[in-house]
Structures are given as structure tokens and as C-alpha cells.
Symmetry: C2
Subunit: 337 residues, 2 copies
Amino acid sequence: MTGNRRPTIKTVAARAGVGRTTVSRVVNGSDLVSADARARVLAAIKELNYVPNSVARGLVTNRTNAVALVIPESESRLGSEPFFAALIRGVSGALAESRTQLQLMLVRDQAERDQLTESVATRRVDGVLLVSVRSEDRLPGMLQEMGLPTVLAGRRDAGERLSYVNSDNAGGATAAVRHLLGGGRRRIATVSGPLDMDVGRSRLAGWRTAHEEAGVPAEELLLEAGDFTEEGGRRAMRLLLERAPDLDAVFAASDLMAVGALAELRRQGRQVPGDVAVVGFEDSVLARHTDPPLTTVRQPVEELGRTMARILTDITQHGAPRQQLTLPTELVVREST
Amino acid sequence: MTGNRRPTIKTVAARAGVGRTTVSRVVNGSDLVSADARARVLAAIKELNYVPNSVARGLVTNRTNAVALVIPESESRLGSEPFFAALIRGVSGALAESRTQLQLMLVRDQAERDQLTESVATRRVDGVLLVSVRSEDRLPGMLQEMGLPTVLAGRRDAGERLSYVNSDNAGGATAAVRHLLGGGRRRIATVSGPLDMDVGRSRLAGWRTAHEEAGVPAEELLLEAGDFTEEGGRRAMRLLLERAPDLDAVFAASDLMAVGALAELRRQGRQVPGDVAVVGFEDSVLARHTDPPLTTVRQPVEELGRTMARILTDITQHGAPRQQLTLPTELVVREST
DNA sequence: TTGACAGATGGGCGCGCTCCCACGAGTCTT
DNA sequence: AAGACTCGTGGGAGCGCGCCCATCTGTCAA
């Protein structure tokens, strides 16, 4: 409303008494500019309060300096907020370093997920960060086909071909169950994650591995799949207690499911950790506030986000090759074991 | 990697045997196109898998169909995730309806906050949603100066001139304290929010109003300011108990501070609600999981986000005038009172 | 002095799109 | 039958920028 429109590169050039190209060079940090010209251009930029139009720049460079973070809304509900909040913090922090914008896309349903590829096709972003991919998800493949750099949080399966950053799910789960075995527990149930996700399968594999190591048979009877929700944990716990009333420990593949399991155990009058020891996975804020405080496997979520963003930036800005990383997890012992 | 570049409007025009303008018209839904031409264009679009380049479009229309959501990182930490998660869900949902992208900006410090105006000046977004503004914040003013449509979550003060969506903080707080008074409590302390934020002042005002209504004096001794964190709630509770050991209720201006207060009360051996009744504000997931479950004032956070997004869209897309809305709050009685 | 060369500079062009406006064909009115 | 109008249509211009390449200036060696 001040009357005059925003200055363009042309305005600045005129003001500084140089050509447009020289202004462009100064703005983009080329060193093929005399000290004198540079000074005049910088002065003009300051006087006019010039800011380059990134849309125009994007049109010619074919880059937007923005990446999309795609999160399935179903997963962002039901108390798994801490995971996404931490992830977003990590991603955002790393992107800020490289002056890249973050487009957040909460995807409600499959229809929106499909529409998303189209949206992405309009070239509004240079790359995509994908969270919570199920094994049969088509989205990663479509993005790859479109030649859009993609980094996954977690992998679809052990043979993943795209870039990804993963937590050491199997290792963490092994450590958790090993801890339970070391505490003398022998009938260790597990509430696994969804088995159509690698994270679910890997944590379950860790449960098996620890049993093998210890020479204790892992009974299939003691396995019940959950869906990473509190209600799912409660339901699974109920089923497990019906099938194996004498179980003495539970490894839940997420803190939230552990919370559900704790609730069901209390409802049935089982003492934790007296009768049944409980271990979760993630070490979200939740874990410190349960009763009793939850032993769990810490997952470096914020660092996971940060690493994903860095890898994507490396790819989009420096043409780095595919990268696949696994971040270490760590057992945090509290009072539920 | 398929060899041929993405089709442009020109490619489509050639394929359909029409001019570029006709294609543009079809894409943008103009009705000045014959049925025949439209059909041919649509066919060509489908065959070529054409998607308009939104960057190029943005250059000429000077619109990006993206808005920024600015969140101070300090506030997004420390367990207030549920608030932001819900807010983001609401915003995201409403934006999806109008095919608008969401740029998420977590701002770490004041320096980044300043840099943000510059970033916004590059015209990457059509408007801005601002959360957690303190009364003296310069950002809203700068955005207004730049002529960038802005909608605040909450207002800076009672005389706010920008568009905003607010919860009925005073009304909710009044209801909460009225409820405590109705339960026979007479020495009702309050852990207020920061007093440099309208939300802090309004909820405190509600505490006063309820006292006046009931003809019970509100003692300044019973007021301690917190910072919306759990630790702040704990600290404030400690101070209050020192000053007024005989208090029989606490109204905390946020659930998280109520959680801190609960912890301190337990530490000092006070029974809730026997000795001291506690009420929070927000009704986040936290409130259902405290021991005992927390009576609190429900704030429609997701709707707040949705409304903010709708108002901003109205302004950017239809030139709607400034709007200021207050959403109702609702007392949710649980076992802490 | 002259040619070769490196450094500095700026104009033209095009990125893909929307919008203005001119134009042709058909319809209606007088 | 001719003007007035409507409807469809398409080419040109221009959005603000980066990059190619031609041009210009000054320096150095022969």
C-alpha cells in the first residue's frame, strides 16, 4: 500500500549504475565483479530494500529450495505427536542451515496420497521426505519414477533401494528383550507393530534374536500384533493375558502401546514390574510419565529428522548419491522392569 | 530419466491442435471454450500427463497458493506438542480444501524471526499464520507493513488490529474458577501464564472475574506467574504453597503447568482433590492421563487452526476484510476437583 | 607498438505461464 | 442485407530472473 511496487533486479541495476547481470552476480556471490561495482550494488540493494523474487528465480533455475515432508495423518494422531514433533524439529533445524523451506503435507487418506504426486509434480519442491511408509506403499516408487529425490524415515524392507535413515530397530529390540531375560524373565510376550511395516518386523526380529541368543524358545503364542496405538496395545495385552496368563514380561514395540499394555495390566490387577515387566520403544516424553516410569529403547528421533534433511539436501544441492543410514538406539532402564 | 522433459502448455497446445491460451483456459476452468476444444485439450493433457508448472504460474499471477505457519520453537518443545499437532492438523485440513500448500517455519530465536521477514519478502507465500505472539512482538507489525495478509492465533492485546482467532480464555477461566467456588473452595490460587501474552492475562482476568461474581476476594498472594511449562508449574506451586499453605484449590492456566502442580502437590503429600482441587486449561491428551484425571477447560485447538486457515484463505483468495473470532471453551470436569 | 589474454560487464534470450487484445465466424436485429 | 453483437480463439507481451556470449578494458610479453 506504499504505492510503489517491489524493486526488481532492474531497479537495482539502474540505481547502482550497472547492468542486471552484475546485480545478479553480486546477489549470487560470483567473484567476477569488481570491488567498486559490488559496493555500489550492495548499497543500492540496501537503499531499495531489494529482495530477489524466489519464484522468478525458481522458474529459471528449476529449483525451489523447498522440500516436502509427507506425514500420514492417521499416524500423526492418537498421541504419537511427540514422534512427529521431534522429527519436524530435526528436519526444520537442518533445513534452516541450508536455507531451505519446509512444506508440510499431512495426508489424510489414500486419495490425498495419490493427489500428492500430482501436487509434487508441479515442481514446487526439490525433494521429498517420507515418513511411515508401509511395505506396499506406491508413493516412493512414483516419486522415484518422477526423478524426485526422496529420503525415507525407515525403510520399506531390508532390500530398500531408496535413501533412508532408520533407527536400529532390531538391535534396540534385542537389547530390550536381552535386558528382560537378564532380569530372569522367561515368558516374554511381545506386542509387535504392524507387520506390513519394516519397523514392525524388525522390532519383532529383535525379540526373536534375543531369545535365540539366550537359548530360550520364543513362543508364537506370546506374539500379538498391534498398530502402534494405545488402544491397540491394550487390546493386544488382553489377548496375550488370555492366551498366556503366566507371562512375566512384555516387550511393546512402541511406548504408546506400552501405555495401553500397562493400563490393561493394572485393570487385571497385575503388578508392574512385580508380576510383569514392561518395556516400550521410542523413549518419548510419555515414558517418563507412566506409572511406573517406563523402561524403553531410546530412538534419536530429532537426529533422525536432522539426518534425513541433510541427506536430502546433499542430494538436491550437491548431487550426492543415495545414502542409507542406521542410527543407534539405546536402552533406557526405568522402573517398569 | 525417461529422456524427454516434462510437457509444457505449448506441447499440450500442439498435441490438441489449439493455441496456448485455449489450453490455459481449460486448465483454469474458463467457460469460454467450446466443448470440442475442451475435450481435445483434456485428452492431450491426459496423454502427455501434463501438470502445470506452478512456479511459472506464480511468476505471472504473483500468487503462490502457499501460506506460512510460524511457530516459535521454544513453545513447540517441552510437551506442548499436542497443541501444535492439533493446530497443524486443523490448518492443514482447511488448506487442503483450497489446494493451498503449508510452509512450516519453526523459529528458534529472535535472529531467525527477523530473517523470517526477509524470507517472507521473497514472496514465497501469500499469507502468514502466526502463533504464540507476545504483546511486544514486532513481527506482526512488519508483516502488516509489507502488506502480507496475516492471521494470529490469539491476539496481542484487547485492541488487536490484525485478524485473529482466539479461544474464550477469560470465559473459560471464569467457568473453571466458578466451578471451584461452587465446590466450596475458598482459597483458590492460580498459576497464570506469562503476563506479556494476552492469553496469560485473559485467563488471569477470568480468575478475578469469578471471584468478583461470588463476592470472594481474589488475593494477590495466591497469584504466581508461570511460563506454560511443566517445570514452571511445579515451581509456581512450590512458591504458592510456601506463601499460602492453606490454599484449597489451584487453577493452572495450562494443562502442562497443572501437571507440574500435581507433581509438587504429591511431593508435599497433599491429596488431590481431597486437600487441593486442581483445574488446568486446554484439555490436551495429557489431561486424561494424569493421576487423578484432570478437570480442565477444553479449547477447540484443531478448529482454531482450521478457522485461522479459512480466514486467511478468504483474505488471500477473495479479498475478505479483517476478521476477529473467539471460539467458545468448555469446562470438562474430571476427578481432580 | 601490437597481439594475446584474462578480467569485468551488460544485453539478449528464454524459463512456462497468464492476460490483453485483435480477429474470424456465426447469430440476431432492423 | 448490413451492421451490431456474442462467442471462440490464438498470438504477442511480459512477469523477474539466470546464463550464454559478445564486447570492452587493461595488462603483459614479445
